[in-house]
Each structure stands twice: as structure tokens, then as C-alpha cells.
């Protein structure tokens, strides 16, 4: 089905791109921290949509659950816990113009260095309906022939992070 030369897929891609990049711009420029966090969630939501388009529905669900559900909420909490500066008087660092030039040049470098030369060379003829079913992904994590090592290392990492968060955020009064 093609409407006016634009396939539904292309339309969806455009929509999610606007959400993703618009949200990112909101994060980078917004003066209000709570709004910044909401913009981040908008951006993450757009990415979940992109994952669906990229034949990865399970990842899209994970994105919504973990990123929006957990990380987004945690960041909102942090904003509220540090609430006295929810509205920022000064947004940018003192050397913002230098940083802006660096970031702009970096983007140009990526664009000219990578994208321009490879445009069109890597396209598959047809997208698979789904890449890696949920079952395959699950098995890969615990299969000794696949990803069990990073899986275990990441589990250690989460342990470290939890201990660390508790150690850092504890109050002095709890010590005797």
C-alpha cells in the first residue's frame, strides 16, 4: 500500500524520527529539568517505535519497560530529589561556544566520513519480518556456546551497581 508515493513504513519512520530527534533536542536545550526528563521519555518512545520497524518487537518492549519504565522514572526521581534547582538559571557551561563548535565538527566528521561514502551500499533487498525470536534471544543468553560470559559479567555488574548505590546514598546518621 502506497499513499502519495510514501509507504506506511516510511511514514512511520519519519514520525518516529521526529519523536526521537525532537525529544533529544528537548533534552539538550530545555531549561526546566522536569520537562527535560519528559523530553527524554518522548525520545526513548520514538526509539521503541524504530525498534518495531527494525523487526525487533521484543527489544521495543524492553525499551519501554526498562528505559521508560525504570530509567526514565529514576531520572525523574533524581530531578525531584534535587528539586531546589529544578529551574536552571544558567543552562550552558562557561565554554559553551567552544563545545558547540566541537560537537558540530564531530557531527560533520561522522556524516562526511561515514555516511556519504557508504550511502546505498549496505541495503538488504528485503527486511526479515523478525530478527531473532524472543525464544532465540533467551536461549542465547544462557547457552554456553553463545552469550553466557557477557551475561554473567553483566549480572556481576548489576550487583556492583546496587551495592554501590546503597554505599554512596547512605546517611551518616546510620553509622554509629
Amino acid at each position: 500500500m502506497v499513499i502519495g508515493g510514501i509507504t506506511p513504513e516510511a511514514f512511520a519512520f519519519g514520525l518516529f524520527t521526529i519523536l526521537t530527534l525532537g525529544g533529544a533536542l528537548g533534552v539538550a536545550l530545555n531549561r526546566n529539568l522536569v520537562r527535560g526528563a519528559v523530553w527524554l521519555i518522548v525520545s526513548l518512545f520514538g526509539m521503541a517505535g524504530l525498534f518495531v520497524l527494525l523487526s525487533a518487537p521484543f527489544l521495543a518492549a524492553v525499551q519501554v519497560l526498562v528505559y521508560i519504565g525504570a530509567i526514565g522514572i529514576l531520572i525523574t526521581f533524581a530531578v525531584m530529589l534535587t528539586r531546589s534547582m529544578t529551574n536552571l538559571r544558567e543552562r550552558f557551561t562557561n565554554q559553551w561556544w567552544m563545545s558547540a563548535i566541537v560537537a558540530g565538527l564531530f557531527f560533520l566528521f561522522l556524516l562526511l566520513g561515514v555516511v556519504a561514502p557508504v550511502w546505498g551500499s549496505l541495503s538488504p533487498d528485503q527486511a526479515p519480518a523478525i530478527v531473532g525470536t524472543t525464544e532465540q534471544l533467551g536461549v542465547s543468553f544462557v547457552d554456553g556456546n553463545q552469550f553466557v560470559l557477557p551475561f554473567e559479567v553483566v549480572s556481576l555488574l548489576l550487583t556492583a551497581a546496587i551495592i554501590g548505590a546503597i554505599v554512596i546514598a547512605r546517611h551518616q546518621e546510620e553509622e554509629e
Binding site: A28, L54, A70
Partner: protein
């Protein structure tokens, strides 16, 4: 079908925006959110390449990135709250007890 490069360009724009946020903004939480955007841009690239190669390695990589991001959030926000309690401010320009 939307070509893989479109996704890669999108991810690069996002990566650059994230980097811009890190370099430009002075509030630690905003800087941190920008880092999340950068990690997410890598996720988009990984998933797009995964579709291109029609194999799930990129998806698995993405899982690990999401997990690591969750761990970083836990630590980062604990740090932010701890600093805020000590100093009542988390602007990174003001982190200058040590300079020289």
C-alpha cells in the same frame, strides 16, 4: 523499505546531539540524560545492523547496553543525590574544589 543507512544517519545525528548535550550543559542530570541518548543512538545502529545481517547478535549487544545503562543510572543518580546533599548544587562548572 527504509534503508539501513537512514537508520544509521538518524543514529549519528542522535549521537552528535547527545555529545552536544554532554559538552554544552552544566547540570549533571542533563549531562547524564545526554549520555543516555548517546548509548541509545548506538542501540539504534546495532539493531539496524542486526536487521541488515539478519542475525540476532546486535540485539543481544543492545540488551547488554540497556542493562549497563540501568546499572549506570543507579550509580549515577546515587552520586548526584549524595553530592546534592553535601553541596546543594550539582552544576558541573561548580565542581571546582580542585583546580590547578
Amino acid at each position: 523499505m527504509v534503508p539501513t543507512e537512514a537508520y544509521i544517519i538518524l543514529s549519528m545525528v542522535l549521537f552528535a546531539m547527545g555529545a552536544m548535550g554532554v559538552l554544552l550543559r552544566r547540570n549533571a542530570i542533563v549531562v547524564f540524560m545526554s549520555v543516555e541518548l548517546m548509548l541509545n543512538s548506538a542501540n539504534i545502529a546495532l539493531v539496524a545492523f542486526s536487521r541488515h545481517w539478519n542475525q540476532a547478535d546486535g540485539h543481544l549487544f543492545t540488551f547488554f547496553v540497556i542493562t549497563v545503562a540501568a546499572a549506570e543510572v543507579a550509580v549515577g543518580l546515587a552520586l548526584i543525590v549524595a553530592i546534592f546533599r553535601t553541596k546543594q548544587s550539582i552544576n558541573i562548572d561548580e565542581l571546582h574544589l580542585m583546580e590547578g
